[in-house]
Symmetry: C2
Subunit: 379 residues, 2 copies
């Protein structure tokens, strides 16, 4: 069962409020999806992940394929039972890993090119260690070097075994160095893969989301959104790259969402730093996932109402204040900056756990605030 | 404020039930003291440490001296405020670290010599890198190699800054390879250090415990217990080595406790594996600390009602059962062995957190069961 109901549309922007209904509960949108790559929110017990505001998690198909293997998850009755997580779950298709293991590793690139680069990826070019063909993607396991192959059918097969409430079509995630011809040919292949995913999708209880590609090129983005938007997907992922600056990201979202059917949900894949939240929600994104809150926490970085705080910095050694004076989470009410500084310097796991909790709570509170502002007609 | 009230004495053994009253709450004894070396129960948020049964924690003087430094803790208003822990706290004196950085590192020895060894430590001998004199112990920081010096006065000074409810006198912890003459001379020095600790102890709100040494030698243990037991300590630690087998450990406890005043609490330092619990409690130990539940958890080992379980073992890959069928903790009711196996294999922090919770809960439940058995006249 999957339903998406839009409860309010903003008059000031493309933002909208909605409710997703799944077999494992409902989700208020716009919603940050908490990342749980290997079937756990890193460093956080489930109940704390929920207390920090998590209503929906996203696990990764390739990671779960490698460990513990989808057969193990299936035998357990699916990922909800395997993890002991009773809330809604998404799985990413593995397409992003094609980027991160391929061109991403070759050139040190991610979804957003934050610094200038003179690398160009041309059509016909293949990343080292990853072979992308019409059939699918051949690559080697980052764990043990063994040969692996992912295709649209294989990704759907794995995701059906994992059993998330929402799953994604298999795509190639293109990146900023890709030239227009590479991006066009890749996008067209992703479209053919989208149809193969629809054909392969048997478990109708799972909501299958198609993924729009097309890079930073307006004509390609519109073309991709029209193609994917016309298919009988339950919702749409917006993948690939968003150019070299935040302005271009908003443009790419606008071109894409312009062409997508209004009634279905839109998930932005792998984007959502604090300064992106308002932009992406105002462009009409309903859900989005981002590793920033959990990843940065484990490096000692907190997101606060006054910006990023590197808690290992010596200035916090005797700081009696809370991590964030405007935050009401238990980390900020029960612990001081000096204690978090000590835990981080002493390499104690609890430091990572507490920062992860605070960061997640901070992001979810920010999104909840934006939801309230949409309801109040301010956004 | 520190009070100890014995509420029941067993007729079948030396076991007794009691209540310790401190400024930060009361403790039912016999009690396992949860280890929080650097001011955190490793891998566990405070509220989960409490939920697992913790009523009293023990932090380490030398570790806190090194990080964050006792001045930082003092400025925070003491360790309770620094950590955000409102329950009772003990600090170890640093004496055990003299062993572990000295002869322990030289010969790979710990408090209990589990395997035979042909090493003998003779009187006058010094460990490498640690110099023990009448004045105190000079050694190098395990962190950065800088020169450090601990003495009775310095240990008490640091512990007063840290501000635990119960603190320990500075001692030398002797080990099984020490011959009788080494053990005797060391014990006599520890006695002189005990008097220096009493003289140095200014903060009467903290309960100072003396430490009995004397190794595996009946005459020395009795002599030490009489000496330390006659001093105006609030309670007594039983330190040092307990010979090469469990039988000898019970003997050492009996000789020691025979000579100690009945009305004051007895803490056994650093001992408490599951198969020790009944023995040490029957010999009249009131509190004891042991790293086993937390340390083993982080290596993937769970303690259960059917023995130790190495959850990373391949046999658990598809095991749908709980870690321990007889356990009612949330790890055993909400998670399966296969999930814990996956988390451990995937090197996820949550695996360590969940095993730490279960192990602590298991130990505390065992001790609670023994308390009930004492109350019911069965132990």
């Amino acid at each position: 069962m999957f339903k998406f109901l839009i409860t309010k549309k903003s008059k000031k922007s493309r933002a909208r409020l909605g409710v997703m209904e799944t077999d494992h509960g409902s989700i208020q949108t716009p919603c940050l999806v908490t990342v749980a790559t290997q079937g756990t929110v890193k460093a956080l017990p489930h109940r704390l992940a929920k207390e920090a505001g998590t209503s929906l998690i996203i696990a990764n198909t390739l990671h779960l394929h490698l460990k513990p293997g989808e057969e193990v998850v299936k035998k357990a009755g699916g990922l909800h039972k395997f993890m002991g997580w009773d809330g809604p779950i998404m799985t990413d298709s593995g397409g992003y890993q094609v980027l991160s293991l391929g061109f991403g590793r070759d050139h040190g690139i991610s979804k957003v090119m934050r610094h200038g680069s003179d690398v160009t990826i041309k059509s016909g070019q293949q990343p080292r260690g990853v072979k992308i063909t019409e059939e699918g993607v051949a690559f080697r396991s980052p764990d043990d070097g063994s040969r692996l192959f992912l295709s649209p059918e294989e990704s759907i097969h794995i995701q059906e075994h994992i059993g998330a409430d929402m799953i994604f079509a298999f795509d190639e995630c293109t990146s900023t160095p890709a030239d227009k011809e590479y991006t066009r040919l890749s996008m067209e292949r992703t479209h053919r893969w989208a149809d193969r995913c629809l054909a392969a999708h048997g478990r109708r209880r799972q909501a299958l989301f198609g993924i729009v590609q097309g890079g930073r090129f307006e004509d390609l983005r519109r073309q991709s959104a029209r193609f994917i938007g016309a298919r009988p997907f339950a919702g749409f992922g917006i993948g690939g790259e968003f150019g070299s600056d935040k302005k271009l990201m908003a443009d790419v979202l606008r071109w894409t969402i312009d062409e997508l059917p209004d009634a279905k949900p839109r998930h932005l894949l792998g984007i959502g730093h604090p300064d992106d939240l308002l932009t992406i929600i105002k462009e009409g994104v309903d859900t989005f996932d981002c590793t920033a809150p959990t990843h940065y926490a484990r490096t000692g970085t907190a997101f606060t109402s006054s910006g990023r705080v590197n808690i290992g910095n010596a200035v916090f050694k005797n700081d009696p204040g809370p991590l964030d004076r405007k935050c009401g989470c238990f980390v900020c009410t029960e612990h001081s900056r000096r204690y978090l500084h000590h835990l981080t310097r002493a390499k104690e796991i609890l430091g990572m756990t507490l920062l992860t909790f605070h960061n997640l709570n901070f992001f979810h509170a920010e999104v909840a605030r934006i939801r309230r502002d949409i309801r109040a007609g301010k956004v």
